[in-house]
Each structure stands twice: as structure tokens, then as C-alpha cells.
Assembly symmetry: none
Homo-oligomer: 342 residues x 3
Amino acid sequence: MSARGPAGAGPAAIQLSRIMRPDDANIAGNVHGGTILKMIEEAGAIISTRHCNSQSGEHCVAALARVERTDFLSPMCIGEVAHVSAEITYTSKHSVEVQVNVLSENILTGAKRVTNWATLWYVPLSLKNVDKVLEVPPIQYAWKELEEDGKKRYEEQKLERLVTKQRNGDIIFPVFNPEPYTVGYSQSSLIHLVGPSDCTLHGFVHGGVTMKLMDEVAGIVAARHCKTNIVTASVDAINFHEKIKKGCVITISGRMTFTSNKSMEIEVFVDADPFVDEPKERYRAVSAFFTYVSLSKEGKPVPVPQLVIETEDEKRRFEDGKGRYLQTKAKRQVQMQPLTQQ
Amino acid sequence: MSARGPAGAGPAAIQLSRIMRPDDANIAGNVHGGTILKMIEEAGAIISTRHCNSQSGEHCVAALARVERTDFLSPMCIGEVAHVSAEITYTSKHSVEVQVNVLSENILTGAKRVTNWATLWYVPLSLKNVDKVLEVPPIQYAWKELEEDGKKRYEEQKLERLVTKQRNGDIIFPVFNPEPYTVGYSQSSLIHLVGPSDCTLHGFVHGGVTMKLMDEVAGIVAARHCKTNIVTASVDAINFHEKIKKGCVITISGRMTFTSNKSMEIEVFVDADPFVDEPKERYRAVSAFFTYVSLSKEGKPVPVPQLVIETEDEKRRFEDGKGRYLQTKAKRQVQMQPLTQQ
Amino acid sequence: MSARGPAGAGPAAIQLSRIMRPDDANIAGNVHGGTILKMIEEAGAIISTRHCNSQSGEHCVAALARVERTDFLSPMCIGEVAHVSAEITYTSKHSVEVQVNVLSENILTGAKRVTNWATLWYVPLSLKNVDKVLEVPPIQYAWKELEEDGKKRYEEQKLERLVTKQRNGDIIFPVFNPEPYTVGYSQSSLIHLVGPSDCTLHGFVHGGVTMKLMDEVAGIVAARHCKTNIVTASVDAINFHEKIKKGCVITISGRMTFTSNKSMEIEVFVDADPFVDEPKERYRAVSAFFTYVSLSKEGKPVPVPQLVIETEDEKRRFEDGKGRYLQTKAKRQVQMQPLTQQ
């Protein structure tokens, strides 16, 4: 038997596969969105780190800078095999775009479904000096149009990252004896002590670990609101502006911002507290919006209780959420057309 | 109690051994007290479940009812092997007393140290009807005195369990912009979604899983207060009055109640929210006091900042904590005498 | 981006990849042999379950029946990516042969090394009736010789499985105050309560989970004997005669049987105790021989202390171990020749 190389061969592709276990899922047997986000990020980190070290020079680790909005197209179940395939689709001078798809395979029936597509941006940080961003070796494109499209996506995300850097100051205040279905009723937070297995070779938290915890909080907020079986439907673009170091305590907080007839939007914040070895203050590391749906016992989406708005701030956030909801709905209708015409 | 080995075997003794891994420890390499408490409880659960099923009849799972106060005599490190030995030392009609000792072995140098003794009480619950407590087969005692001593311990703990059942109503309120070293400054809470691996065959949370989470919160409170390497020094008796079911969200909250010159006492509450499948209200499942010490880089205890008291309630709790501290100190001096004379 | 299929395409191949984390390794940073064995078995279980369900009919899960002897050619380290590739190489009426190779990739330097080859045998058990072995759909062979070679391997392993079924009765007795370097000095055992994530859809323990625990015990025995950094060098063929059910307590025991100049052979037994729900007695589920080497700080094999033999039984086992050692050495010299001529 000959030694076979990594899947799809070439330095520009990788595939991770794994059986989904009870610990990866909720009690209804649906795999947590966070489990899938973590696998997606691991695939992206491997392929972009491999690529950025493919030319001789200073060694580096690729750090997650941004994940584009991703939809969970259908739930994955315990016992199914998740196949996560990643390839590099664009490189700028200092960043790498990775596209990932996730396939769920029922090995008993042979049925396969695409459950996710995702696009991630990585930046190579020097192993010797974590604040130094190295240059990315350029990839080869099969067609000139692929490079031009990639450049467009690069410019767009760069702009959006600048914008979100401003609006990270919000804090979730505790509420006493909240009324059912208000924001305070379901808001939740958890804390996590960053351990060695959460971290890269640099000693900084993997983006996928952070996303998994964010999905966990969002899921608890959603379940507290509607008290049914809930699953992740989508995650808005997430920007990772600040790194989180090994030994930090991180607080992950979530609150509901918007409900449509059959979906809930939850805003999640991650704050890092580098309390042991540094004089640094607590800081906001990441924030994001998760959308959840509520499922019946047959796995069909069911209506969710409307969010009860109490303050001006909550009203503003609800309207913002509604804007995102309508925008996404419009975009999806446009994207669906070419698919149905194929 | 002498250090018992794996020998003796028979149905009335068991030993769990495991290498301590990076994720079991803090960044200074000291194994979390909670990791050890979880191993202790697993050993106790196995041996008492095995014993309670040793006579033909209805099958059952032993559920943790109480853990007596335990001291952490010396820290355990990554790479060491923890040996947890348990034996049944007393049985009443409906409960089992298990005594456990923990030995830490450095397999490179061969050095061994006793790190803990613990006493746990279990109750056999029917597998068919979780609310039915079954009868416990009696054990044989080598001497009549062993049975009499056991009966005394049984009566004492029974009394204490009745008392603590009353005082479980306290709630931890959030504080805005707290001053350094106040109670509000370090208080913390985390939430955990109970998954399948947290649970027994009944679908209820293992007592050890709960204790591990409690130690995690207490450790974060202690670290926030003194911003150094902290380790668990002892845990007061814990009573498990209410079971926690799979699928619950549990909130574990901790606040500092007392500081001596070199130790901190942290009160921890566990509240369960059975939000998915049941109409049951949120309830207090467990509460306990953890004592932590702060260590220098050489592993020696160092002074901790004094707790700043702001309210009457805090003052009362501080005095109560001082009472527990002085009582323990007195007891320890008594217990140490025979040891030093050996 | 189009939906790409599983690696290497075709139903007869799969690849699992994963970054090695601190918890996968010992304190010197070498990945445990057991971590690799577990990944190998997961790949084998996926590919053979998929194949056995590829024709319409009763659904089944492939259960591990046997792993052929495997060598660990070079150690893997934290931060490297393990690529585990599996393909089906032979099918009999009721069993599937899977060949697996493991590649270790340093994504910083691009260096790749083959670390393992392994051959596993699976048997399809009906999901409805776990005691019913189903028929395996035949695979297509590129050349007739491949089928004939496979048949030869099939006959050989079938014979060997019959033989080992007899010799499973040995027990490891505890020894008090053992002398250094005797068998009793390093013998060890650990206990594990089988949880849901350890199990297949049938509710039986994955073979890979058992092998990981066996490697853990063998590693503790080896480290106790020579008190240095030790790594798995090889595992002899393992036969899985008896299944282990969820909820069992398993005891994994290891004792040293033989030392050569630079290697140690450790015999490992797995006993299952279905203590809660069944009237079944404790039984021997698996046994195997692991070979370990001791490494210097530079990662070179160093001499190990000779095992001190005290009893006739130990002497017999030592001679048996010597026989296996010499046989393997002879085989390896034959196999190495074509490789060195390439």
C-alpha cells in the first residue's frame, strides 16, 4: 500500500472528517452549530498556515481575522459523518481567503447533504513576533476572473472590518425579575478559562474555539426564550479584532435583539480578562449576531414568541435586527433564482 | 486512615488511575481541585452502584447525597498519575458511605504523595423509578467498633443535611463598576448546558461534574481577587438536595465571603433551569464553600489582599466565614498532634 | 465553489485530518500512540460501515474484530497535522479488511512523514439485532492478484483469532512493596466508566476508544519501569472477541513481560463489568501486547533497565516475549530490504 497524500492533493486543499458524537449535539440529537464552526475554522487554519509557510522565510501561524456570514442549510445528526473541505481561493499581500464547504453523510443510507458554505480570512503572524504580519505567497488562478472576483471580495470585507471596529463598546446589563419574553428574561453569559488545548502554537485562542463558545451562549439565550428544541440557522460576519491569550478568562454574553415569525437574532459579545500575568484591562475581543430557529418534534420550523421590547435602546436594536433580517431575505431570494434555473 | 492500595480488591474497593493532562490544570501546571473532586466522585459512584446491585432485585444507580469536608494537602501536576482509591466503610438501610484517598505519583521519580482524603454518601435510586430509594445490602465489618463509628458519622451527617436544606435561598446580585477587592469586584458566574457525558444512566448530572464546575467558578473568583496563581485548599461539606436532569441549563455563581491572611473563602451556588421539557421553575440544586490559597512562583503560599466589606450582609457573611475558618484551624491542630507524634 | 465529495472520491476511501493538541500528547510533546490508534479505528469504522450499507437491505454498523500488528515509525508532535487515510482492500462474505496509513505533516516546514500503516478487520452487525452478522457487499479488484493476496491474509487472521480466543484467562495480581524493575514494580491498572461518546450507534464501545485506554496503561507501566520519556513503538495484533456495552465499568491492566536492550513489551488486559443492568459476570474483553521504547532528550532511543524476573510464570512470559521480539526483528529485516533498495 503506497503512502497517499492529503486529500485532493496540492497544498491548496484539505479535508477534515469526523463522526458526530452525543457530546457534539443537543438532547434532540442535532449537532451544535458551534461544533461545525469549530471544524470549519480548524480546516481553514491548517490550510492557510500551510500555505503561508510554503515559501522559505520566517515561520508563521495563520490567525483568523474574519468569517463571512454563513447559513446552516440543514441540521446534522449524531452518527453522521461531517466532511469539511477547504481550499484557498484568494490571497492579498497580507491575507488569505479560504472557502469551506461542509457535507453531512449518513453512512447507513448513503445520503449526503451540503450543510454549510463558509468563507474565512486569515492573516499570517510571525512565530517570533506575534505582532508582525508577514507577506502571503500568491496563489495561481485558473482564470483571470477568479482573481478579480477575489479582489472584489477582499476590498468589501476590508471596508466592513473597519466599520465594525467602532461599534464594539456595548455592555449587557443584568436585569432583576425580568418579565417573560423580554430581553432580560433570556440574556445569558458564561465564562471560560482558556486552556492549552484551546490555543495555537502562538498561545492564542483558536478562532474556532471562540465561535463554539459564542454559539453555546446564543443557543442558551434562544432556548430560554422559546423553551423548545432550537438550532443555529445562520451566523453573521464575525470580525476578530483582538487576540485572546492563553490563561485569560473570557466572558461570553448573549442577548436577543430581534424576532421574526420563525427566527430569533441573538447578539453575542466576547470579553477577555488577562488577569494573571498582565496589567492589561479587560477588553472586547469579538462580537457577532447568531440567528436561531425553533423546531417541532418532526424537525419543522415553528413560530417563536415575539420579543417584548421595553427600552429605547432595545427598540433601536430590534429595528437594526429587522433591517439585517430583511436584507438577508432579499439577498437569499436573488441567490436562489440561479439555483432553481440550473 | 491509612493509605490503601489497589489491593484488597473484592467488590468493596476500587481504584481509578489517570495521567494528568494539560487541560486538567491551570497555566502554572497545577491540577484543578475540580478535576480531583470529579475523579473522587466517579470512584464513589462506581463502587456504591456496584455494591447496591450486588444482591438480586431491582437495578439501581447510586446518586451522590453528600461529600464531607475535604482538604487538598498538596498540589498535583501535569504528567503525574492520580490514583483514586475508594472503599465502602459503612451502610445504613438506605445509604452508603464511601471513603476515598488520592495519591499523586510522579512516575519519573517514583515519588508519591497523599493529596486528599474524602468521605462521600450515596443513595441507591431505582433505574425504573428515579424517585424510589432502594434498600442497601449490608456490608461486613472487621470489628464491631467500625460499625459503631460509622453509625455515629451517619447520624451526624444526617443532622447536618437537614440544617443546610433551609439556608439555600441566597442570590448573587450583579454590581456595577465595583471597587477593587470588594465582593462585587470578583464575583462570577457561568452557565453550562448539561450534555449526555455529564450524566448517569438515569440521565441525571453526576455529582462530580457539578463539583468540577463549582471549583471552576470559585477559582475564577479567587484569581480575579488576587491576580496570582491560586489553588484549591479545601472544600466544605456539600449536600446534594436536588437532582439535575439532562438538558437543563445550570448557572454556577460564586462570591468571596471571607479572607484570612493567606486564604480566601468563596461561596458557590448552583441553580438549575429545566427549561426545555418541563414546566418546573428554576431551583437551587447545591451550594458550598471553597477555600483557596495564592501561590508564589516557587509554589509557597503568599498573603492575599483583604476583602473590602461594604454592606451589612457582607459583614455577616464575613463573620460566619471567620467562624468556619477558626473552627477548622482548631480542628486541624487537634488532628495534627497524633500525626506529629507518630 | 462546487460541493466537493469525500476525499479521494469513491465509496472505498476516506481521510481524517486533525491538528494534534496538548491533550493528545505526553509532557515531552510526543503524541500518544493511543491517540493515533483511535483516529485509525475511526477512519476504519466509517469506511466499512459505509461500504456494508451500500446495498439496500438491513442497516448495520461495522464493529472492529481485529487490528493487525502495527509499527509506529516515527513520533508525531503537538501542532503537527495527522492525516489518516483508509481504504477497503478485501472483503470476505462476513468481514471487511481496511488498510490505513497515517501521515504526519509539519505545516510550518512542509515536512511530511509516514508514521503508521495499519490493517483492520470489521464485521457488520445488524442495527436491529446486534448478534446478527450481515453479509458484506463484494468490492471490485483492479487485479486478480489483489483478491488472492487478500484471501490469504483473511485465512491467516481467521486462524490466529481462533488461537487467541483460548489464552485470555490470565489475571494481574497486586504486589506489595515490590523491588525495583520487577514485574510488580511497574504493573498498573486504570478504570473507566463507559459514557455515551465512547460508543457507536449500537451503544457499544468503539474499538478505538478501548485501544486508546490500553495504550495509556501500557505507557504508565513503561514510564514507571524506566522513568524517562517513553513512546509507543508497536502494537501486536489485537482481537476483539467480546463487545463492551454503554454503562459498563472497564478495568484496563498492564504488566511488563519482556525487555530487550532498547525496548519493553507490556501485556494489557481489558475486563468489562456490566454491573448495573445485567446479570452477566465480569469478563475479559480484549488483550494485547504493546512495545515501548525510551527516548533521550534528543529523541534517540536509549537502553532500558532489564526486567527482573521472580517467578516461573514470569520467566515463561519473558521467553514468549523474547520469541515475539526475535520473530518481529527477523520479519522487519526481510521487509526493510525492498524499501532500502527503492
